[in-house]
């Protein structure tokens, strides 16, 4: 469980510097369009087109609170799926917040429409051609755009969500708070051979068709494993931890939490969705100097049909 098979490639930094160089060489050419539909009494939401490496045109939802800034900034680190929505209402009230329609997802699916399942293994045997090389670049591009907005407080820039955030925080030193709620790329080479759960099963599907590709797949994954980037992350970090004895649990996550270059707190999931959401929200709010916005609704009881179902 604690033995990590992935080792950092010798050219890891050169690989990521090349991505940074590609991004630096191509203008973002931002194009913002306010969305009356998604704007509220508290915030204005826009769709913003940006150019990432490729070149590829992506889209982000940008929400800016009403009132006098500067405001803390929040990047929602993307997950795996074709649908990306505007940032949650509660986040839009407190942060300059962005969610990213990365290449292949709805809103950024021309010319490339990702398949789900399918995206995870698109080009996976070559780190320079893996579709996620571009998707990580899309996230970095969106982060740069966020940091360049005049109404943000540059000392309060946070990332929340998937472990894509670890690599963004490692490659850009602007982040002051990082909350990693979902490990996805971390130890993926250790995880996929042990599971039949999608989307990780996509890699097993790929290797059924190309059994000779295992070594190449694992090599690609090593460039994107947050474990090999965490030492560069010196910001305050919260890592969410699953159950002992399984992937995502404390033993599984220990190599990552020990690798960070800054202060790390751990939050053990209760699996009560709203309890867990509120805990992470509270941590992030505290880091950023805003009020927490708990979603748990109280008081309630659990009703006459469920007396025997308490956990």
């Amino acid at each position: 469980m604690t033995t990590v098979s992935s080792t950092a490639p010798a050219d890891l930094d050169a690989f990521w510097r090349a991505i940074d160089d590609e991004l630096a060489a191509i203008p973002a050419a931002s194009e913002s369009e306010a969305s009356a539909l998604h704007s509220t009494e508290h915030s204005t939401t826009s769709k913003v087109k940006l150019t990432s490496i490729g070149p590829y045109r992506i889209e982000i939802f940008l929400s800016i609170p009403h009132g006098d800034g500067p405001f803390p900034a929040l990047l929602l680190a993307p997950g795996y799926g074709s649908v990306v929505t505007p940032p949650p209402y509660d986040d839009r009230m407190r942060y300059v917040a962005i969610s990213i329609r990365y290449r292949g997802t709805r809103g950024a699916d021309k010319p490339y429409a990702a398949k789900f399942p399918g995206l995870l293994t698109d080009g996976i045997e070559n780190p320079d051609r893996w579709r996620f090389r571009g998707i990580f670049a899309d996230t970095l591009r969106a982060f740069e755009y966020l940091c360049g907005l005049p109404m943000i407080d540059p000392d309060r820039v946070a990332i929340y969500g998937s472990d894509i955030g670890v690599i963004v925080a490692a490659r850009r030193n602007r982040v002051n708070a990082l909350a990693v709620t979902v490990p996805f790329f971390y130890r993926l080479a250790d995880l996929y051979p042990t599971t039949e759960i999608y989307p990780f099963e996509e890699i097993n599907d790929h290797l059924r068709a190309y059994p000779e590709g295992s070594e190449a797949v694992n090599r690609t994954l090593s460039y994107f494993d947050p474990l090999h980037h965490a030492a560069r992350v010196t910001t305050n970090t919260l890592v969410c931890i699953g159950d002992p004895g399984v992937a995502g649990g404390p033993e599984w996550m220990a190599p990552l939490t020990e690798a960070f270059g800054g202060a790390v707190e751990q939050y053990a999931f209760t699996h009560e969705g709203q309890t867990d959401y509120d805990a992470v929200d509270r941590w992030l709010a505290q880091q950023q100097g805003v009020d927490p916005r708990p979603r748990t609704w109280l008081p309630q009881d659990i009703g006459p049909w469920s007396a025997a179902q308490q956990h």
Partner: protein, 323 residues
Amino acid sequence: MTIRGLARDHQTSVRRPADFDDFWDAIMAELAATPLDPILKLVPHRSTDAVEVYEIGYTSLDSVRIGGWYCRPRETWAKGPYPGLSIVPGYNSDPTLPKSWAKLGYAAIGVAPRGKLGSDTQFNPGYPGLLVHNIVDRNTYGYRGFYADAARAIDFLLSRPEVDKSRIGVHGSSQGGALTLTTAALRHDVIVCGAAGAPFLAGFMDCAAVTHSYPYEEINEYVRLYPEREEDVRSTLEYFDCVNFASKITRPFRIYVGLADDIVPPETGYDLVKAMTGEVEFVAYERCGHDAGIYWEMPNVETFLAKYLKPALADTGVHAQMT
């Protein structure tokens, strides 16, 4: 912290249109008159020693072609005939590839109703978007075809010779929970049981009034922009409200909700149960949100479905992927 009353004491404001049954009878008659034209294409690299995986297609309402996944046990893994199980997707989710259910012994279809990936060439309102697509017109509202596509998936299962037509169930969570209910109502002639988590699309306007979370927030956004259309919106949605479908469901059901769910407020779960006429197991999990307690509930869902559908490999240590 939002303070409100007990979920079980809430009553939705949903009205049942006098012509609700006529509206849906006409749609189902139109659907029945449409040739299914099913196709299957084996996907060898996603198939395993236990399960064959197929990409599928069939024709639904308005001649829209619907895609999806179909997974069945290999004869060497489990002998047929197999119970049929329709796995219906959440709002933001991509269609499920139900390989894990087939490994349990089900012939399982992962439905991609119109607009989902795999069914988006003829209809694609986008996400966000579907919930308010033509929301002032019940005859072209996005969910008219969407509900029909999910119901039509049952015809696909019935077309398969390896499926036992007397053992067909449906399961999903969130929008999948809603589609579980609508499919069971529209195909009450066939569906034996259903398990619905955090059922969305019940008490639409009541829910939108107490949450700012997507997808219901789409309705708030629409009404904020077009306040003069609110009554038209409400009128349309009554034809699509799961509370109004619930009385058609007479077979055993399991419904589970999270009492702190901000995405699908749990109050409507209680109203659904009140309206259903069959045996209902209802479970409410404290402090759980839209997860609806799935961490604890998933084994119960497997057990419930197995009780009525009797897959060959229930209780053998094989488990389905969480929905």
